[in-house]
Amino acid sequence: MKMKVGEALLLFGFIGIALTMMLAFLWAPSVSINAFESPAAQRIFYWHVPSAWAAFIAFGVLFVGSAGWMFKRSELMWRLHIAGSEAGLATGLMVVWSGCVWGAAEWGTPWDWSDVRLNSFGLLTLLAVYLVLGRGSQPDGVETRDTFAAFGLYGFILVPFTYVATRIWAIRHPGPVVGTDDGGSLNADMGFLLLFGTLSFTLLIVGHMLTSMRITSFEQRIEALQKTLDGGV
């Protein structure tokens, strides 16, 4: 079967992520053993930060799709909403899971209820779980689409909130390593690997969203064809 663009991006993204993990494990420089409780676990950030970037892309797409459906009633925008929520769920789980793995090694606990960024990101992921499961529980229709698009719009408030959370409430979560005024705290090799990982995750998530939109259009076409047969048989 001929490979589609979305599937090709998924494949390249996946290979890139696997390569990033391998390089993070075997090649990336170690951090100072005095600065961290668990210096080895720090390498999880080559997964954690790029997947958080991918999650923000996914939630951005969710916002655009939700707004597009609410204000334009566009089928394409509804497909974007679905793709964004599914991609947001997958990447959100990746971020939360990798964060828990690191937290367990570094803090001695996988979750800290007082950490604002951790919790706001957890909530963003929960919103994605809600959108995916909730939508699955309802028949497709304008009522379902309006309700979930509204939640998608409200949920987007959490994105900038999560982004600035460690700048406002630096309780336990490490502060930003890129995009800071002092130029960040990464050396060149770390920066390269982080960039490579970010590109790979971007490819994977864009590939996933394209495939997801294709799946939704198939489902809609199948539903229409079945209705045609219902009317005729």
């Binding site: 957890g122 909530l123 929960l126 809600y130």
Partner: protein
């Protein structure tokens, strides 16, 4: 010249994946009885609910009197006229009494009247003080129909009466009484929009409005009704929170839902023995306030209760919004926190009580709004809204941090 009371202009309404009404127009003036005709699924109920501001419009707008009350851009304003309605579902809780429901319906019009002659006509006098749950389906339907008719009888100003298949399940004499009421209201200058399949009710029409075509056929109403005067007295409308409090008090749903969660949480904490002395101030406060948070996290019992017979939709149409528990969760939070303060640290703290009251009240109302936001869905019970409740734990953690800093 008769004033226009109701106007739907080029409205488009979607339900599910289909467009039910497209570029649809409807006009009703004082003294009009518009009967909606059409096959099942042609959009009669959809038109009534759109006029009652219960459905969002994709295009067009609806005016009540000269004022726009709902449009396709999402504007939804209270009607300047008295609007009363009977949906296909009865719009009343089983725990309401017949008399009480009718009084509430009339108070929404700002007036009240002695409705015993109407109870007589509909053979409901002996049931006036019964709970609606004790009535048969036909009797409950009569109450719903009277709740749509009486506010117009009580109102001195022209009213809009919307009824969706009012005849369903009614006996012969009640249909006759219904037709008499329709004719009387028409003569008094109110306007009625009625969806029906019953020929006797159709005979009351001044206009037959065919769906989905939107074609109007003028008619001469065949049945003549007497115009009788009813002495009315002014009343203030019942607020959704007052109604919610009354129902909560009667059903004790708050005890079953919110108070039990708080008591169980407190019981579990107490079962662990005298351990609170060894905790930090933040941890102690966290445990003291935990029962109040648990009570709030159970949400507002009125939301689930008002799904019965689409009571929430009826309230949204005739009042400012669906019923809710108002101040009750705040009071419950204060009491629960006082109890947990005594039980866990043997102290009384007015500040903790105040914080507990706010915690339960705000948590419960936030969850109510989240639940109510899913009311339009085909299956609101199955929508996993509980997944969003952890959103309230972060503010709780930040609150504790702030109070003990």
């Amino acid at each position: 010249m008769a004033k226009t009371l109701l106007e739907a202009v080029n409205i488009e309404v979607r339900r599910g994946m289909g467009v039910v009404l497209s570029n649809h127009n409807l006009l009703a003036k004082q003294g009009d009885v518009v009967v909606l005709e059409g096959a099942n699924g042609s959009g009669k109920s959809t038109l009534i609910e759109a006029i009652a501001r219960l459905l969002p419009l994709e295009k067009g707008h609806v005016n009540h009197g000269e004022m726009l009350v709902v449009d396709h851009e999402g504007r939804r304003k209270p009607s300047p006229l008295n609007v009363s309605l009977a949906l296909q579902k009865n719009g009343a809780l089983g725990s309401e009494r017949v008399k009480e429901h009718l009084e509430i319906a009339m108070k929404m019009a700002g007036q009240s009247l002695d409705f015993s002659p109407f109870l007589d006509a509909f053979s409901l006098t002996h049931r006036a003080n019964d709970c609606i749950s004790n009535l048969s389906q036909g009797q409950a339907r009569k109450v719903a129909v009277l709740a749509a008719l009486l506010p117009a009888f009580a109102s001195s100003n022209p009213s809009i009466v919307l009824m969706d298949e009012p005849d369903a399940g009614l006996d012969e004499s009640s249909i006759e009484a219904l037709c008499g009421c329709i004719n009387e209201l028409r003569k008094a200058g109110h306007c009625l929009v009625i969806s029906t399949h019953d020929e006797r009710v159709k005979d009351c029409a001044t206009t037959k409005h065919h769906l989905p075509s939107g074609r109007n056929t003028p008619c001469e109403p065949q049945q003549k009704g007497d115009t009788s005067s009813h002495s009315t007295s002014p009343e203030s409308p019942v607020s959704p929170s007052r109604f919610g409090l009354t129902m909560q008090w009667r059903t004790l749903a708050w005890l079953n839902q919110n108070a039990m969660a708080a008591l169980l949480t407190l019981g579990i904490l107490m079962a662990m023995g005298p351990w609170t002395d060894s905790l930090t101030e933040l941890q102690q406060l966290g445990f003291i306030l935990a029962p109040a948070l648990a009570a709030g996290l159970c949400g507002d019992a009125m939301v689930a209760m008002c799904r019965e017979e689409r009571t929430n939709a009826w309230w949204r149409a005739v009042s400012t919004g669906p019923p809710h528990s108002g101040v009750l969760p705040f009071l419950l939070g204060a009491v629960v926190t006082m109890a947990s303060n005594f039980a866990l640290v043997s102290e009384f703290s007015a500040i903790n009580m105040f914080v507990g009251a706010l915690l339960t009240g705000i948590t419960s109302h936030v969850l109510r709004l989240a639940h109510q936001s899913t009311e339009r869905l085909a299956r609101p019970q199955a929508v996993f809204i509980g997944l969003l409740t952890p959103v309230l734990i972060l503010p709780y953690a930040l609150l504790l941090d702030m109070l003990t800093r």
